[in-house]
Amino acid sequence: MADTYTFDAKDLAEIKKITDKYPEKQAAVLPVLWYAQDKFGHTDSSVQQLVAGTLGVPEAHIRGVVSFYTQYYENPMGRNVLDVCTCLSCQVCGGYDMLHYIEEKLGIKAGETTPDGEFSLQSVECLGACGYAPMLQVTNDKFVNHLTREKVDKLIDDLRAGKQPEFESNPMPQHEKGS
């Protein structure tokens, strides 16, 4: 991979839109890091350098921010990152079982990436889907709820085939009853 990371004119226009939202450029650090991570897949040292230079914010500050927030990938990750929640409701509803099942299935431990670079697996804290436990999030995006072994199998097959999961709506049970 190229060791130079740059923002092109379109990126810079987007970043300008972001910085315009705030009275100070530094405030754009989080959204611009997101933007960079979407583009490059991670926020490693070169990306940090790029963001620092683009926003005119000290590089050390960027490193401090990146290392504080868990969703920024300081190191390149697998193409799909599976964040399995094991916290509280997910813990009591089988979150660890799912985590261990995926570990077995992928042959890696939480915190590792498969040798083919397809999957990274992480055990994460509460993702805010407690009523739909156990669940996981795919690469900081879609939630996959009510995990079962079958659902995990299908998800992994789909992801291998390049198919991202759909957004799952969880309506309020009151609405479903129509009462």
Partner: protein
């Protein structure tokens, strides 16, 4: 006047402020780590917790509520407060560990927390002996720890930059270093990385912590997390003497401490001076300590004919100068003072040669435009440019000087401690027509060219004054002995534990560390065979004489400089010599 009650004692305060700083100003003790008077207040170490409350005010009656004992009813804040961030308020009641068991317990608890992940490596830690964590743990900490798990492991011995080394495990996350680079040096080179108990200070990836003020973070680090790459493992704090001095490596003249052991300067650290450098100093000034120890000229050096310089006796050096003076007239002498030398030495030079009939005195300022930063690093490379100027030395640039030498062809050139050949386009050829005498501290190109070299003392060895770029006169105190000074006899010198109680078996025995040199003024008074030699007992006395002669230096004295941490001079005034 507003009042505050601390441990049941009443204090008055005028200015708004914080409780911790007020207590420190009043000599009261309270433990703290993260607070620093010159930095912002994060209140993150939580060590300075106190119990605080306000009297209950009865709005209807317009008075304070009084209990049955006639005392004011105090409503205490529900939680302990950090004194560092607590505003002084009229009528406030503060209880510390002296009067409140909860506060005492809380301080011990907090230290227990700090220590659970702090390595117990004081015996091999450079900070030991001057470590706030060590000291405060002895004073306020728990007796032991109930922590029975593995401590959090973090990187050790990381070279953050050329001058600073990090041991992340020792860090207690006070963030003083980060705040220093954000708020004082403004290089923003440091940040805290990671989260929770895995936090530690770091630079950006691949970035070198080369902040020109980086060593200040070592000073303010309250533990041994940041240590000086240069000073590390060289000396224990308790083996050293600490002498107040000033930085002579540039024109700012930061107030410093000189730390000596066995008559070697081991390190230089900043000394608080509100008018000059606050708590800080540039790294360059600290590393300049080497010039006090290394490459020193010891014993006079004389060139016989065109041969190499040889060591000679002081007596011979003096006689040689007098002989050379006999041969020529005053008009043949070119006297060049030095912005690198003290007011006293320049004055002595001037006095001696005035007596010989010389009327023109010159000096070459040592200024590199653009090398300063407008803060504590000045363009001026010399500590005393304003001092020499105020003594009436004529400011001369190198071109003019070379022209002058070529046109007047002086038979004798006198250079006071300044490496003119090393730092200007002046060459040995320019000097070859004259007999040259150089007063120098360290071997350099100029001293190597001289016919006679007189070794003189450095700022580490003499009591002398310097006028900084802002016109502030400050003085040094001898920190290391020469062959002719003695710590026990010279009352100007500070004494450490080993000076008082040390024996031959201690460290203070290396005679080679005592340089065979004297102050320039002492050289002139020793020319006793000469009727023109001035008569002074001490540099203190010279300053008294200068104060009487020059309006710029009026009312300047060593005592006043000591009391007021230097004196601001008015440099605009005339600097003509007034008849005594």
């Amino acid at each position: 006047m507003p009042e505050i009650f601390i441990d049941n004692k009443r204090y008055e305060f005028e200015e708004p402020g914080k409780v911790l700083q007020f207590m420190l100003d009043n000599g009261l003790d309270l433990p703290f780590f993260c607070y620093h008077p010159s930095l912002s207040i994060p209140a993150n170490c939580r060590q300075c917790m106190v119990k605080a409350g306000m009297p209950v005010y009865d709005r209807e009656k317009g008075t304070f509520e009084i209990d049955e004992n006639g005392e004011r009813v105090i409503r205490f804040f529900p939680k302990l407060m950090t004194a560092c961030s607590l505003d002084l308020a009229d009528g406030m009641v503060v209880l510390t560990h002296h009067t409140d068991e909860l506060v005492k317990q809380a301080q011990a608890d907090n230290l227990e927390f700090i220590l659970i992940n702090h390595p117990l490596d004081c015996p091999i830690c450079d900070q030991a002996g001057e470590c706030p964590l060590q000291i405060l743990t002895y004073k306020y900490g728990p007796e032991g720890s109930r922590f029975e798990h593995k401590k959090v492991h973090k990187p050790k011995a990381i070279q953050l930059g050329p001058r600073v080394i990090l041991d992340a495990e020792r860090c207690i996350n006070c963030t003083r270093c980060v705040r220093f680079t954000d708020e004082i040096s403004k290089t923003h080179q440091l940040t805290i990385i990671s989260r929770g108990d895995k936090n530690y200070p770091m630079t950006a990836h691949g970035q070198i912590f080369d902040d020109p003020y980086s060593l200040n973070t070592v000073d303010i680090c309250p533990v041994g997390a940041l240590t000086s790459a240069d000073f590390r493992f060289k000396a224990r704090v308790w083996e050293m003497n600490q002498t107040p001095s000033i930085d002579i490596s540039n024109g700012k003249g930061c107030s410093t401490w000189m730390w000596t052991r066995d008559n070697l300067v081991m390190r230089v650290t900043p000394r608080f001076n509100e008018a000059v450098n606050d708590h800080w100093m540039p790294d360059a000034g600290r590393l300049a300590y080497r010039r006090f120890n290394e490459n020193r000229i010891s014993k006079p050096q004389l060139r016989l004919d065109d041969a190499e310089q040889v060591r000679t006796s002081w007596n011979n050096a003096q006689l040689t100068l007098l002989e050379e003076l006999e041969k020529i007239s005053a008009g043949d002498i070119l006297v060049i003072g030095s912005a690198h030398a003290s007011v006293e030495d320049n004055y002595a030079l001037r006095t001696f040669f005035s007596n010989k009939g010389v009327s023109e005195f010159r000096f070459l300022p040592h200024i590199i435009p653009g090398s300063g930063d407008g803060y504590l690093i000045s363009d001026d490379q010399a500590p005393n440019t304003n001092g020499v100027r105020a003594l009436g030395f004529q400011e001369t640039d190198e071109k003019t000087l070379i022209k002058l030498i070529k046109s007047t062809k002086p038979k004798m050139i006198v250079i006071l401690d300044d490496d003119l050949l090393g730092r200007t386009s002046l060459t040995p050829d320019h000097l070859s027509g004259a007999w040259t005498i150089v007063f120098g501290t360290n071997h350099d190109e100029t001293t190597r060219t001289a016919n006679l070299v007189v070794p003189v003392t450095t700022a580490a060895e003499h009591a002398a004054s310097y006028v900084n770029v802002d016109g502030r006169i400050q003085r040094t105190v001898p920190a290391k002995e020469t062959l002719y000074t003695n710590r026990r006899l010279n009352l100007e010198m500070s004494m450490g534990r080993l000076d008082h109680y040390g024996t031959k078996f201690d460290n203070w025995v290396t005679d080679a560390n005592r340089v065979d040199c004297i102050s320039a003024w002492e050289f002139f008074i020793r020319l006793e065979h000469d009727g023109d030699a001035p008569k002074w007992e001490s540099s203190r006395q010279i300053m008294e004489e200068i104060a009487g002669l020059f309006s710029t230096f009026r009312q300047v004295s060593y005592d006043r400089m000591d009391e007021e941490n230097g004196i601001q001079l008015k440099l605009e005034q005339d600097t003509e010599v007034k008849p005594a």
